[in-house]
């Protein structure tokens, strides 16, 4: 006979692995998301910008543009064709040359249009004989750790820790409450603390799989750097997973229906989806909301993960984030234990 805490944790594991949908949302979905965003934002040779040249145009001018590396040049028949191409964003810039004068038509609010104007102007002026007064040398870099995918994988990891902690526990608790299974369990000598602890313990098991899958994927497929120690990373993931599990218990501590717990879970998670810097840096938010942003557990998680993975930060330098997470772990767990509705 195994101890109750083990049996309870085994129940959690069995219920999870016997639910194929849950497996997909926890493992499949984040990997697909990472793959999609990784491909969309992969670093590559800059594409040529498409521009148009109104006909007729001086042959020398057209030749200069054609020979410019960054531009793809299209011949446009007349003014109306030019206007249409601009409006449809088929081209970023239309060049019209007449009577020894060159006219650039473009929308300056589009960054690619401004770049196209510079490139086209350079090519035309040089073709016409301009010589640059200073010699120029270019050095290009592509640093691992500075790409979007490097920024995004730790964010996605944090998001996954939050989502699976809150959803898996929220649904499991509310379903058990709705089926009066909770009431049946408290009619036995089962320890209530052990019941709640079993949720945290089962999260630890899945944590290894979830983090392993996402991290392995990022490292193998996108060559995302892992500069800090694995132990430090494990510590951050562990504390974060327990924190979000405690939040999951709190969210589900009173709810009687799946709808109610879904609403509450979304209410808790939505601000973190937006403010915690998963998809873009949280520093973009105004100074006035920074105290709020920095107090969110997902912000602390994502910051700590990025520090460890991308900058190789040691444990000592993420203690601030860990302390914040521990507060978010202890307070919700204690409150959940007190207000938990067993029937």
């Amino acid at each position: 006979m195994r101890p109750a805490i083990i049996e309870l944790t085994l129940v959690r594991l069995r219920e999870f692995v016997r639910e194929p949908e849950a497996m997909f949302w926890v493992f499949g979905f984040p990997l697909l998301l990472a793959l999609g965003l990784g491909i969309a934002f992969r670093n590559r040779a800059p594409e040529s910008i498409r521009i148009g040249v109104l006909q007729p145009a001086p042959a020398a001018l057209a030749a200069s543009l054609d020979s410019s590396a960054g531009l793809a040049v299209e011949r446009l028949a007349d003014d109306s064709a030019g206007a249409r191409a601009l409006r449809n964003a088929d081209v970023a810039l239309v060049v019209a040359a007449a009577n020894g004068e060159v006219e650039y038509r473009f929308d300056p609010s589009r960054p690619d249009a401004r770049a196209a104007r510079q490139l086209a102007d350079d090519a035309i002026q040089r073709g016409a004989g301009r010589r640059d007064p200073l010699a120029i040398r270019e050095t290009t870099i592509s640093e691992r750790g500075s790409r979007y995918i490097d920024f995004f994988i730790p964010g996605l990891l944090g998001l996954n820790l939050m989502g699976s902690g809150i959803w898996s526990i929220g649904f499991a608790v509310v379903t058990a409450r709705k089926q009066k299974l909770l009431k049946r369990l408290v009619a036995t000598p089962m320890s209530r603390t052990q019941y709640l602890m079993s949720f945290l313990l089962s999260r630890l098991f899945f944590l290894v799989l979830e983090v392993g899958a996402l991290l392995g994927f990022g490292v193998l497929v996108f060559d995302v750097p892992l500069r800090g120690s694995l132990w430090t990373l494990a510590a951050v993931c562990l504390v974060a997973a327990l924190t979000f599990s405690a939040l999951g218990l709190l969210v589900s501590s009173r709810a009687r229906t799946v709808e109610a717990v879904s609403g509450l879970a979304n209410l808790v998670m939505l601000p973190m989806w937006i403010f915690s810097g998963v998809f873009f840096s949280a520093a973009n938010f105004p100074q006035a909301v920074q105290p709020f942003v920095q107090a969110l557990p997902l912000t602390a998680t994502v910051d700590a993960l990025r520090a460890v993975m991308l900058r190789g930060a040691p444990l000592a330098s993420v203690t601030g984030e860990l302390a914040l997470l521990l507060a978010w772990l202890v307070v919700p767990f204690v409150v959940a234990l007190r207000v938990f509705r067993w029937r």
């Binding site: 101890p3 109750a4 085994l10 129940v11 219920e15 089926q179 049946r184 000598p189």
Partner: protein, 321 residues
């Protein structure tokens, strides 16, 4: 095993129990005294307060007033110890669908310091063939037997069963009854609620008839039925066009002629009369109907049951109460 109060007389003692929910009084001054080793039934219609009463006894609901002594102890003083000694089956529990029979019983077994071997319990509730089947694959009767298994896995001294056969088909119901009878044979005290009078009559040593949160009568099923003072219940109905002529006065006269022990009661499109000497009552009844030119449509008799006891106590039938 000391499955009794210090004075050795009660497995469960309830005095002056009261509980109200908002503006509904669920339990209204209820007393019970369950002896060790007996199977005690709370019989009553839905909403009579049976479940509230049993859940207070199980320590799951706090009463507003009254005293509950379970196995000689109170919930406030020894709740944890009591949990070890009680077996409980709740009315609406759905066990985890994705676990197997074996896993479910192992889980419940792990909560108890001492108890029965899981395989013994599986054999007891006759689920050997379903050991490795998921709960979701079980029939209603099998689920209910598993719920009973969960109640028995801690080898309890006192077992509470709340509506153990509600919603089951007749065959599944009989299987549950067999199980309860086996349990009785081992000398465990059983408290069960039901709104099926056959169930109470077959299983219970003593029955408390409960309505509106009160005990209306408490005795053995045999003595409760005997208390009606009737050997048979006679049911009669008349042709449809004659029904308006059966006034209260006419009914009293008919009942008087038949020598009914209690006033006639309307049911199922006719009337029921509890009578003693059936061989005299029926000719007298027919003669009175004839005299009043009321054409008889149907005539039946049955032995009195707890249903009739309930009717005589409350004026309502169990099934439509």
């Amino acid at each position: 095993m000391t499955a009794s109060a210090p004075d050795g007389s009660s497995a469960l003692l309830v005095r002056g129990l009261r509980k109200r929910y908002d503006d509904v009084v669920a339990v209204d001054g209820l007393d019970l005294d369950v002896r060790p080793g007996e199977c005690f039934g709370l019989l009553g219609p839905n909403g009579a307060g049976k479940t509230t009463t049993i859940e207070i006894c199980e320590g799951l609901t706090e009463p507003d007033a009254g005293e509950v002594i379970v196995l000689g102890r109170t919930w406030a003083e020894s709740g944890r110890d009591l949990r070890e000694r009680l077996g409980i089956q709740l009315q609406e529990t759905q066990l985890a669908e994705k676990l197997t029979v074996l896993e479910t019983l192992r889980l419940f077994r792990s909560f108890y310091a001492r108890g029965r071997a899981v395989d013994d319990v599986i054999a007891l509730v006759r689920l050997e063939e379903k050991r490795r089947a998921r709960v979701s694959a079980l029939s209603g009767g099998q689920k209910q037997r598993l719920a009973l298994g969960c109640a028995l896995v801690g080898d309890p001294d006192l077992v509470f069963l709340d509506e153990p056969t509600t919603g089951l088909d007749p065959q599944a119901r009989r299987q549950v009854w067999d199980l309860v009878e086996q349990l009785k044979a081992t000398g465990r005290t059983i408290v069960l609620t039901t709104h099926y009078m056959e169930e109470a009559e077959r299983l219970c040593d003593r029955v408390a008839i409960v309505d509106h949160g009160r005990v209306m009568a408490l005795d053995t099923p045999r003595r409760l039925v005997a208390g009606l003072g009737a050997d048979q219940i006679v049911f009669f109905s008349v042709a449809e066009d004659a029904v308006p002529r059966i006034t209260a006065d006419a009914l009293a006269a008919i009942a008087g002629a038949a020598g009914a022990t209690q006033p006639a009661r309307a049911t199922d499109g006719g009337w029921e009369l509890p009578v003693t000497a059936t061989h005299e009552a029926i000719p007298a009844l027919l003669a009175e109907l004839e005299r009043r030119a009321l054409p008889l449509a149907e005539l039946r008799t049955h032995l009195p049951t707890l249903e009739d006891v309930f009717v005589s106590l409350t004026g309502r039938a169990l099934r439509d109460a």
